[in-house]
Structure formats: structure tokens, C-alpha cells
Amino acid sequence: MIRIENLVKTFGAKRAVDGISFGVERGEVLGFLGPNGAGKSTTMRMVTGFMPPSAGRVTIGSHDVAESPLEAKRLIGYLPENAASYPDMTVRGFLEFAAELRGLRGSQKKQAVGRVVERCFLQSVLRQSIDTLSKGYKHRTCLAQALIHDPDVLIMDEPTDGLDPNQKHEVRNLIRELGRNKAIVFSTHILEEVDAACTRAIIIDRGRIVANGTPEELRAMSDLAGAVTLSAHGASAEKLSALGRVEDLNGAFRIYPRDKSRAAELAQDVVELVSREGWRVEGMFSERGELDEVFRRITLPDTVKR
């Protein structure tokens, strides 16, 4: 549904987006990660046709955004950064305005508004003007606007930014549910969201893609992935070091595999060693890897890297 080829955006001498390519199909939820200023919003603005790219191509469905912007925009629902909306309008007025701009009239419009109001839980504030709403409601109002025409493609710039934990949870569930039959791209810098909602994640840094994969694949890039943490009575680092590099964590030991591809066997080796030595096990887990460690490692400036 979404195809992006060699997208470049320059602001003066700065290359905000520097040759990004990826595709998103129906049924996929792509998490777009990166530190602030990495080029996430700029990329999304180019995908939605707000900004013309300096080079490269964006195709939505079968429409090139630069060549037939109106056809491409019809397929997209967009939640801009900070969920901008007209503060002087009521929620209903705003949604009706969005529906009319999307070409919905009469009973179609009424139905569409009713559907998104239900979906985004806006019944209680329908008649309120937007500037009197709490941040969560403002956000949901803008999200409702993006869903009003039941778009095939949904682009969301930090959809959970500024929401409380309950609201974040709701929005993530909504994203996952919508992702079943839409192509979704959303940006975030909250890594737990990748696990909660994405089928795939891309990490960008300084305008370039530095990682692209499923949450599991990204996590496997972590140093920690496959390591075994053991806390056992009588265990000694000396004996464990036969299996791999050992780190002492105040009473517990973390053993890193020598070779990541043999990570599964490491757990088995540890179990065998424990039973051979007769240590009393208090706890043992196999680490899946941590996304934020991967994120930090690949997006830190070179000067800060170890």
C-alpha cells in the first residue's frame, strides 16, 4: 500500500531525510522509531503529501503522491504531530468538517461520524468545543478525524504522545485492531509501543534507516539477547565462565553466549552445570534482549559510542 523509494529531504545544507526506502502492506503496523530530530516527522509529512520531497518517490496504493496528490490523499488518514485541530469548533462540528472534506454527505456523513465517535469514545464530549477538552480527548478527536473515511492507509505522528498510561493502552489496542486490514505507520520514541502494537519496526537516525525488522529481530541485535541470568546458591563465576563471559550482578550471574546462534544451547548447558554442581537455583531466565539497548547502541552519536 505504501511504497517509499530513496526519499530525500534537504533543508539548506542539512539532509533531514537521507535516502529512505521501505514498503508497508495491508495488515502491517510499522513502528517508526528514532531519536528526536532523526527525520521521522519529515518523512511522514512527505508521505502524506504535505511536503514535497527533494528527491525520491512516495506511492500510496497505485498513486504517486507528487503526480496525483488528491487521489493519494484520499487513501490516507493522517494524525499530525500534537494532534492539531481547530480549537473554536465543537467535536461534532470538526468531525463533520473532516467528513465533508473527504467527500461524505448526508447519511454517509452521519454514519461516518457516528462510527468514529463510537470507536474513539467521544460520545460524552460531542457538543463541547475542542479547546475545552483534555489532552486525551483532543488526541482522540484528531484520531477520529483521521479515521472518518475508513482509510486504507493510516499515518500517525506520535499517536500516544502526552497521553496517560490508560489512554496509551487504549490507543495501542486501537492501532493493533485497525492494523488487521490497513497499512499503518506510526512514529514513536516509546519502545514498549513497538512490542505492544507493531508487526515491524524501523529505526532511523540522522535521516537514514539503521535497523529494520520485526520486534524480535531487533531485540536479537541486543548484546543481551540469549544471555542467561542465574541466581543460585553456591554458584561461582569461575565455574560458569567455562560457558561464556560472566557478569556478576550482586549475587546473580549473567552468562553471555560466545556465539549468538548457539544461544538456545547455552540455557541447556547452564542447567546441566547447575545439576552437576548441585547448586540450589533461586531463579533463572533466558534474556530476550532489550529494545532500548539496541536503540541506544545504534542511534547514539559516534562520539559517544564506546
Binding site: 503529501g49 493522517y78 492539531a84 481547530y86 473532516a98 472534506l101 473527504r102
Partner: protein
């Protein structure tokens, strides 16, 4: 066309959901009343016409129209809704035209509310209502020209105050280029041809005909081209912002 109507409707409603519209209407009506009847010596003139009324419009609009136009794009950019609007299936020119038309209709409404002036002259005497109609048409076009300039300056900045000031300055040029004291001063050192050329750019020169009841195609073309040019420039400016 539908998109234009939808956006224009929203804009117009937006004027009236804030107190701005009512404040503007009251100030506009008070000022037109004051300038016509007090400063314009309406009663001492002893003639049944609205010359005292229309004569002030280029000056009155100088402050009032930029006050209406300053928010058109600046507010949209400040609040981030520009991004929302331009990612809808709407061409930028449609949004530009729609917003301009909505504000122009608002000014038309303000102008329509000056109808007591017409009633007054008709009660007191026997004016030529054709001249009055032409005067209103001219005044409406004049407001449109100022408004288009205000839309343009509004697109230049996120700050409404800056937009307002820029717009007043630009419109002031449009007035002064044909303002008699200025043109008289210019004739002292410039050739008459040059003075006429400069004056031809002025709204005052082109508004004169309407006040005398003459609707000249030249004047019509002038006002419509000022509007067209300013709106086109608005489009270029907005495209510039989007390109970054």
C-alpha cells in the same frame, strides 16, 4: 467546488464563534458612522449623496481589513492545522480561495449593515441610488483588494501582529500612490507621465470612478488583478513553507 464551500463555511462560522466578529462589526459601524456624520460633515454638505461615507473607506479599511485578514493563514500555521488542511484531499488553491471568499463575505456583511446610511439620505433628500450602488460595489472590491493583500501577509508569518502590520504598510502604499497630497508633491520633481503611472497603481485612483457612479472595466480589472495577484502570491508563499 464542494471543498471550497466546505472550507469557506467553516471559516465564516469560525468568525462568529469567537467574539472577534462582533467586536469588529461594532467598531466598523461606529467608525463609519463617526466619519460620515461627524468628520465627513454629512449634514453641512447640503447634498443627498453618500460621498462623505465612501470617501473615508480607503482609510477606514486600511486598519480594519488587515484586522480581519491577519488570522487567515497565520493562525492556521501557528496551531498546526495547516498540516491537517493540506493533507486533506484539497488542492492548496482551493483552500486559498475558500478562505479568501469567507473573509470577503464577512466584510460584505459588515458593509451591508451600513444600510441605515442609505435610509438616511433617502429620507432626507432624493439621492441618485445608482451612484450609491456603484459606490458599494467599489467599496466591496476595495475591501477585497486589501483583504487579498492581508491574506498574503498572513501567509508570511505565524504571528498575527506581524501579519497585520505588514498588511497595513502594503495597503498604505496602495493608498498613498494615488492620494492627492502625495501626487501633488511628486509633480514638483517627477514627469506627469511618471506620476500618472504611479497613481495608476493606487486603489484611490480606481475607487474614484465608483464613487462618481461610473463602473469602468479598467477599474474592475484593476481590483480583480490585485486580488488575483495577491492570492497567487499567497499560494507561492505557502508552497515555500511546505518545501521547508
Amino acid at each position: 467546488m464542494r471543498a471550497i464551500l466546505t472550507i469557506a463555511k467553516r471559516e465564516l462560522v469560525a468568525y462568529f464563534t469567537s467574539p472577534v466578529a462582533y467586536v469588529f462589526l461594532v467598531i466598523f459601524l461606529l467608525l463609519t458612522g463617526f466619519f460620515t456624520f461627524t468628520a465627513g460633515n454629512f449634514f453641512e454638505r447640503g447634498e443627498a449623496s453618500l460621498a462623505a461615507f465612501f470617501g473615508w473607506h480607503p482609510w477606514l479599511y486600511l486598519v480594519l481589513v488587515p484586522a480581519v485578514g491577519m488570522r487567515v493563514w497565520a493562525e492556521e500555521r501557528r496551531s498546526g492545522t495547516l498540516e491537517l488542511l493540506l493533507t486533506m484531499p484539497v488542492a492548496p488553491w482551493q483552500a486559498i480561495v475558500a478562505k479568501f471568499l469567507a473573509s470577503w463575505v464577512f466584510l460584505l456583511l459588515a458593509l451591508a449593515l451600513t444600510f441605515p446610511a442609505i435610509v438616511t439620505v433617502n429620507v432626507l433628500g432624493d439621492p441618485d441610488n445608482g451612484i450609491i450602488a456603484a459606490g458599494y460595489a467599489g467599496s466591496f472590491l476595495l475591501a477585497g483588494a486589501y483583504l487579498a493583500v492581508s491574506c498574503m501577509t498572513s501567509a508570511m508569518t505565524r504571528n498575527q501582529v506581524v501579519a497585520f502590520i505588514l498588511s497595513v504598510v502594503l495597503c498604505l502604499f496602495l493608498v498613498l500612490a494615488g492620494f492627492n497630497p502625495v501626487t501633488d508633491l511628486m509633480t514638483r520633481w517627477a514627469s506627469p507621465a511618471l506620476v500618472d503611472t504611479v497613481a495608476a497603481f493606487s486603489v484611490v485612483t480606481h475607487f474614484d470612478g465608483f464613487q462618481r457612479g461610473v463602473i469602468d472595466a479598467k477599474d474592475l480589472v484593476y481590483f480583480l488583478s490585485v486580488i488575483g495577484f495577491a492570492l497567487f502570491a499567497t499560494g507561492v508563499i505557502i508552497r515555500g513553507h511546505r518545501s521547508g
